[in-house]
């Protein structure tokens, strides 16, 4: 068959229908975003207002070690979170993709369901577990592993646990797609050709599921780096992340220009990750844009 000459599209309705919605997105999304960008180059008035004078000083202020520490810390937490999600998520995705076909939708649903529930509530659940008199400490003491309760809550570890908990589904889904597409016969062929289990993993499975791995890692990294609730509830004053810094500058210090500058640094990090994601997805079929 010759290719369809005209790009046949489904909708029979005219294009201008999109206008109101797009207008809405422009007014209530793009304009506010531009506003934040503009303010990031203004400076703070004496009483918290904005002085419209172009200055890059807010961005220069971010070089201060205090801010630098928070930025670096955020990157570190997000990276560790991504790695842990991979370690937990890959076996899970593999087992789901290789389970009987009729079970797969249910198993995937089980993985996704927590994601669709209230994030605040899920984070709060960890507070119950990690508290001084929380379930984990009681459990450890009952077993006699420790004598006094451990400081679990308000630590970097608590933040990372909360982030892994929150974003694990983002890792499992693209990995599942990648493993599901991997022909099991390839694994058998490698086995047949004298590969050990480890060699099968490193020479066949990982290279062939690489697009899913890259996709999953980026999908976990993006929300982790920008998180606010998790470090706010589970982290202490010393495990602040960029999101908390933004909120702090806006609502507590009321230094809007500095807060805006922090926002745009964060946005730059996120957009880099997004671009990487679409690059990796465009080479194969992305898990988000199944074509």
């Amino acid at each position: 068959m010759p290719p369809r000459p005209l790009p046949s599209r489904f909708s029979s309705l005219p294009g201008w229908l999109a206008v109101p919605g797009l207008l809405w997105m422009s007014v209530f999304f793009l304009v506010p975003l531009g506003l934040v960008f503009a303010i990031s180059f203004a400076s703070r008035g004496t009483y918290g207002g904005i002085v419209w004078e172009f200055t890059p000083s807010n961005y220069l202020d971010l070089l201060h070690p205090l801010y630098g520490k928070i930025l670096g810390q955020s990157m570190w937490y997000a990276t560790v979170t991504t790695a842990l999600c991979f370690v937990l998520g890959f076996p899970l995705a593999y087992v789901i993709a290789r389970s009987p076909v009729r079970w797969q939708p249910l198993l995937l649903l089980l993985v996704m369901l927590p994601f669709w529930t209230n994030f605040l509530v899920r984070t709060y659940a960890w507070m119950i577990l990690l508290r001084h008199d929380g379930l984990i400490n009681r459990f450890l003491m009952a077993l006699g592993v420790v004598d006094a309760p451990l400081e679990l809550l308000y630590t970097p570890a608590a933040v990372v646990i909360g982030l892994v908990y929150g974003y694990l589904p983002f890792m499992v889904l693209p990995l599942y797609v990648a493993v599901e597409r991997l022909d099991p016969l390839l694994v058998e062929a490698a086995w047949d050709l004298y590969a050990s289990r480890w060699a099968v993993l490193t020479h066949v499975i990982l290279p062939l599921t690489k697009p899913g791995i890259v996709g999953g890692c980026i999908l976990v990294f993006i929300p982790s780096i920008g998180s606010f609730i998790t470090p706010d509830l589970l982290g202490g004053a010393r495990s602040m992340m960029i999101g908390n810094l933004i909120q702090h500058e806006y609502l507590v210090v009321r230094d809007w220009p500095l807060g805006s500058a922090v926002s745009f640094v964060l946005m730059a990090v996120v957009m880099t990750a997004v671009v990487l994601y679409y690059r990796s997805a465009s080479r194969t079929d992305g898990p988000l844009e199944g074509r």
Partner: protein, 257 residues
């Protein structure tokens, strides 16, 4: 032949335990009679009963539902029209629109909250229910559009042509072919938008004034002001609420023809 070894299964089981353990504990302890301790003191419904008598909480519930309903309706209309309209635009413009719509989904929510707050403050709009609803529509439009577009893309373009060939006008094609085929996805989108709006904390946090407390805001302030057993009960209720919305959405999507 299956290749998943025992090791893989164990890790998967642990991962599942990790996902559901905390939720389970939370729900379980919402029935604990003990007041301030994690020790189990027998089952009770008194924390749920206490919720029913909390006037502020009932007001927050009403706010949450109002915001969710209005923003879902708004976003479904606006986002649905984008999905239907952009189908007919040239490819490059479609890419541009898609990019604009993906942006709100990927940028940190803190940023969206901050940007909206700044915008409203600069316009001298008093923060309150209105500003929250305006903001919720912003993050729900992309969700609706993307879900509907995914479905539209899966439909055979020949179906629309067949309808036109059989004498249907543009409107009739929409009414008798596009809309029925889109219906499950539309219901799915509505439920997802509703759930996301109901659960949203950050955008609401920045755009709600003192008068517009929602359920998540209430939960947050309860957590911050000290843990009380009522939070467990409220949290459990919120979990059940969003899970049932999603369950329903998935059920509807499953029936796609």
């Amino acid at each position: 032949m299956r290749h998943s070894s025992a090791g893989l299964n164990v890790v998967s089981l642990l991962a599942m335990l990790f996902l559901y353990g905390p939720i389970f504990v939370l729900v379980l302890y919402s029935f604990n009679a003990a007041h301030l301790s994690m020790a189990w003191r027998g089952a009770t419904l008194k924390w749920y009963a206490a919720l029913m008598h909390d006037e502020a909480l009932l007001a927050a519930t009403a706010n949450s539902l109002l915001i969710a309903v209005v923003s879902t309706i708004g976003a479904t209309c606006l986002g649905g029209l984008i999905a239907l309209g952009m189908d007919r635009l040239p490819g490059r413009r479609q890419l541009l629109i898609e990019g604009t719509l993906v942006l709100p989904l990927v940028i940190p929510e803190v940023m969206m909250g901050v940007a909206l707050m700044l915008f409203f403050v600069m316009l001298n709009m008093p923060l309150g229910l209105t500003t929250v609803i305006l903001g919720h529509i912003v993050f729900n439009i992309p969700l609706v559009t993307i879900m509907l577009r995914t479905r539209l893309r899966k439909l055979d373009p020949a179906l629309g042509e067949a309808a036109a060939d059989l004498g249907a006008s543009s409107w009739q094609v929409f009414r008798y072919v596009t809309l029925p085929l889109l219906r499950p996805a539309l219901w799915g989108a509505i439920l997802v938008a509703f759930t996301v709006s109901l659960d949203d904390f950050l955008v609401t946090f920045f755009t709600a004034g003192p008068g517009a407390t929602t359920l998540p805001l209430k939960v947050y302030s309860m957590i911050k002001s000290g843990v009380t057993p009522e939070i467990n009960a409220l949290s459990a209720l919120l979990l059940v609420l969003s899970m049932s919305c999603v369950g329903l959405a998935l059920h509807l999507q499953r029936r796609e023809v």
